[in-house]
Amino acid sequence: MIHTKRLATPYIVWMVLFTVVPLGIVFYYAFTDSITGQFTLENIVRIQSYMPIFIKSIWLALISTLVCLIIGYPVAYYIAQCPPSRQRLLYLLVMLPMCISFLLRTMAWVSLLDDTGIINRFIQAMGMKPLPLIRNNGAVVLGMVYNYLPYMILPLYSVILKIDSRLIEAAQDLGCNSPQVFTKVIFPLSMPGVISGFTMVFVPAVSTFYISQKLGSSGTTLIGDVIESQFKAAYNPNLGAALSLILMVLVFICIGITRRVSGTEEVAMP
């Protein structure tokens, strides 16, 4: 294979131009003033007032990711144990929602959860008072879990599939009962999938802006909302860039921590 190394050059040029350079520009905008264009730390200082929003975003994203993990793990495990034809069908069914407009699916939840929505109309028809199902943190978590559950199930499934069943048998032969088999054999072996799933859910969840806009109250503003409004409603790209920078650093730290805790560097692809 002569000259194959050079094949990768156009790719690296593209990536540097459209991934590394933009990040540099974000850096530049974050540290400049919006009117005069001079170097300033003012944007970074203003971020202090958004700390509650950062914390809220991380908090909600963490809860959503945990819920996704708790719900997604049994599903992934079950699918991995099915016969291959059923596996394929279930895999398809799980992946299908991912391919179709998540905006409209979120709007469907609005119709379901609204005070005058489907669920509440049903409840009222039965004679009970309507429940406040929407415009609170719970609805936002529901929206996040709903949208990102497939991203948790698929990597878990592909990793659990590869676990050698003989290891499980060996553990059982050596006297482990079911919970022990799970905690000592299956779960540790599926760690790469857990990490991958965690990353693929947490990162979008912490930076979403659409779900909180539609399902949250006027008080659930998340960091994604603030960034979006800086670029679309008010025109302050410098503040938006500063917020994006902090968000990026945050995500980086969180991923680093999860890798440390799990003790593995591998990442599984769904």
Binding site: L62, D114, T116, A233
Partner: protein, 399 residues
């Protein structure tokens, strides 16, 4: 199988090579207007854009924005290939001061003569060098008479009434929202005083827990469906909503309200200035203005257009309030750069208010502490295990 894939690929590529935007013989214009702000043929009313294309052969690419500020941002961040934009009075003043508008060539807009003198030469564009009025209107409060008691209506205070908590909507743009706060406190709509602005923002922050959502055009669905019961909005849109839900009523608050004019302009960098001027001219013809605004419910600046309107509308005192009512209305002026900045910053504060529940903060801290403890614990355990293994190896090798 391979050949099938290749065939599929080729056909897709072929289809995708067909140009997407069909350029008509007469060219095209990009129009950027408020949402729900032109008669589009629904309910049997006129389709203005289609009528224009039929008359002139020019294709209309129609796009909408939901607030002056987001339109301004769109213009600023490039993609300014719009030929006609229809912002509000104060925004036009801002665009003129920043040199973002083209001067109009009135030889292409003869229908300008139909615009009433009362709406010409306004403060935002004296001599109308850059804009031609499209509609004028007022802001008031829409409420659902089924759920709101009549004794609570009459003042802006209704929007702060805790009895209707969670059923109140609010404007999602700074000027309109601050205007309500300022009017409630008795200030002018155009105050630039920092303390005034701050006090208005405090009012808005106090209102926030009662607000269901900050909306613009989503208001139609919410009020018609009775998801919300009270909302400040434009009089013309009230008339549209009342057709869907007859329980909805409207009032002008006693403290005053905003009176606005929306006008057509041509931004710098447009591609088809002549087509744009033809469009503006078309909108000014009395027949079109009448039929268009008959549907919209907003008020026409062309008296002759009333001949083409449903007499119910032209007689409505909501669409065309009396002189006495109008005296209570104030128009927006463009604020100075510093005042705009201050208002934007305060508005962001209002929108992002809503602190974190303290338990969230404490559980986060607890989580972090637990994490660090766990990592340290693991580190210690690993060291002990290695030490034990080393000791065992030493004793083994001695045997």
């Amino acid at each position: 199988m391979k050949r099938l894939c290749a065939l599929l690929l080729c056909s897709v590529l072929l289809i995708s090579s067909i140009p997407v935007s069909a350029s008509a013989a007469g060219g095209s214009i990009n129009v950027y207007n408020w949402g729900q702000y032109i008669s589009d043929g629904s309910d049997g009313y006129i389709d203005v854009n289609k009528a224009f294309t039929e008359k002139t052969g020019i294709q209309v690419n129609y796009m909408t924005f939901d607030s002056n500020e987001s339109m301004y941002t769109k213009l600023k961040t490039g993609g300014s290939t719009y030929d006609v934009i229809i912002p509000s009075d104060y925004m036009i003043a801002k665009l003129i001061s920043e040199g973002m508008l083209e001067k109009l060539d009135y030889s292409n807009i003869p229908n300008y003569r139909y615009i009433d003198k009362a709406y010409r030469d306004q403060a935002y564009d004296p001599k109308n060098e850059y804009s031609v009025p499209y509609t004028w209107g007022t802001v008031g409060v829409i409420y659902n008479s089924k759920y709101v008691d009549e004794e609570d209506v009459g003042s802006w205070d209704l929007l702060w009434n805790p009895k209707y908590s969670g059923k109140i909507l609010m404007f999602d743009n700074p000027r309109d929202a601050f205007a309500i706060g300022e009017l409630k406190l008795g200030y002018s709509l155009n105050t630039e005083d920092k303390d005034d602005l701050r006090n208005a923002s405090y009012e808005l922050i106090q209102q926030k827990p009662l607000v269901q959502a900050y909306v613009m055009d989503q208001i139609f669905d919410k009020m018609e469906r009775e998801e919300a019961w009270i909302a400040p909005y434009y009089a013309g849109d009230y008339l549209l909503m009342a057709e869907e839900n007859p329980d909805l009523k409207f009032f002008f608050p006693e403290e005053g309200f905003n009176l606005f004019i929306d006008a057509c302009c041509i931004p710098k960098g447009c591609q088809n200035k002549e087509g744009a001027e033809a469009y503006i001219n078309f909108l000014c013809s009395p027949e079109i203005s009448g039929e268009n605004l008959d549907y919209l419910g907003y008020s026409t600046p062309i008296s002759k257009a009333k001949d083409f309107m449903d007499p119910d509308i032209s007689a409505s005192d909501i669409a065309y309030p009396t002189e006495e009512t109008l005296a209570n209305g104030q128009s927006f002026l463009n604020l100075s750069v510093e005042a705009n900045h201050e208002m934007d910053a305060l508005w962001l504060q209002v929108k992002t208010q809503g602190g974190v529940d303290s338990y969230a903060v404490w559980s986060m801290i607890a989580l972090v502490v637990l994490l660090i403890a766990y990592l340290i614990f693991r580190q210690i355990r690993r060291k002990r295990r290695i030490a034990a293994r080393c000791a065992r190896w030493k004793t083994d090798s001695r045997d």
